[in-house]
Amino acid sequence: MQTLTNRAKVLEQKPLTFMERLYLPNIAKGMAITFSHMFKKRPTINYPEQTRPFSPVFRGLHILNRDEEGRERCTACGLCAVACPAEAITMEAAERKSNEEHLYREEKYAARYEINMLRCIFCGLCEEACPKDAIYLSETFAPANFTRQSFIYGKPDLLIPDPKSQPDEFRMAQGRLEAHKANVKAAKNDQ
């Protein structure tokens, strides 16, 4: 048979030599190899206690951002829902009342904001589409659950902690967000 390339290697099947037929020398060699692995470094980590660092552009569960005064940034413009290729995002807009200025930054806000995490493909297009810096993909996995209903995340699940009532949690989440933004920017600049 003519070969297309000269890389093909002819497989030789020689009859076993006496030493090979004895099995034992080769078994000893194999045992030495496995024994040497006892002293090798183990790549396994104790997962829940130790975690590996995520890649800078990792895209996990979404969070809805707040500004420094703890007001929701989302104005329910619907760009994210339009951008979403999996049609995972739905929302309902509402008008801000006069006594709600400390809650919502703009005059319009999302009364209902839902993401179906089973539909979501974690592409991050919503994050790119958002003009108000309101939605971000965090570094959290979607946890397992028993019902489909529980994978539809509403506003209470998505909103970042309030900086006024829960300052510590907010700072942590904010810190991770800032790091995430920086990472994404760096990754984009690299391209």
């Binding site: 496995t34 183990r42 396994t44 104790n46």
Partner: protein, 351 residues
Amino acid sequence: MMLAVDFALMLEKFLLIVVIIMGSLVIAMYATYAERKVAGILQDRRGPNRAGPFGLLQPVADGVKLFMKEEIIPLTSSKWLFILGPCLAMVTAMMTSAVIPWGSKIEIAGRTVDLQIADINIGVLYIFGVVSMGVYGIMIGGWASNNKFSLIAAVRGASQIISYELAMGLSLIALLMLTGSLSMKTIVEQQVSSGIWNVLLQPLGFLIFLICAFAECNRTPFDLPEAENELNFGYHQEYSSMKLGFYLFAEYINMFISSAVMATLYFGGYDIPFVNEANLAQSWGENLVTVLGSVTLLLKVAFFLFFFMWVRWTIPRFRYDQLMDLGWKKLIPLALANMLITGAVILWLNK
């Protein structure tokens, strides 16, 4: 009525039996843990480390899990034999421990106690007999399951054990020609007093015995009766709950016992290497030396257990025709030659 029995002796033997059986159960339990840990370490993993410190409670967790599982007896199985199978496997695995000398004498309250359940003068043959009974656990269980995979596994297991028993017996005959006794105690005492372990006199015999021990325990590379990729699980495919547990457990007890037999027959039993026990006993006292000897025996057993696991995670499974080739065409002629040469050398030296 002549029912007068030495009650102290009975109590002593009863306690000894309880201690040895509990001991081998615990060791078998931790052998399952050690197996997974060794497998993990040899494969650059960590092994079980969740239950308790270093995962030390893992065997307990496994046992509880097996107990909690539903007990299933297939409708088309023959019920009594289905239950008898795992019982036989367990009983035959435990019975061998009766003739192994676990230590020399110990003195408790002026009574000398032999650390051996029964020093019968056919000890080696007894082990042989019990091992040959071990087939029935597999065969009966496999047949009673009324499942083709189980049946094939049962047949495989039986023919494998019968084939390797021959080579095992022949390799033992060479050893017995050297010792001139079938009693395990005598064999150990000879090694203790001379300081020369039988493995030095019978290296080939030991090798054959070792290979056969692997085959008799159904351990890799000879674990064809439970070959997962060909027979799903082999003879214990239909089993669930503790009956499955018994089968799995019996394998580890078999491993432990055959390690103990190898240590006793070929590696001096409770002989402490490079030490003269008689001198030591005079300065340190008899009891302490006995305990040290038993610890030495357990260390030897632990080494063999590790060796069993080490081989399991190194060597792939034999094909069935290769297995039979090795048994009948290689080991038996080799064992026969070993026997003849040993006999000739003994005759020549005696002249």
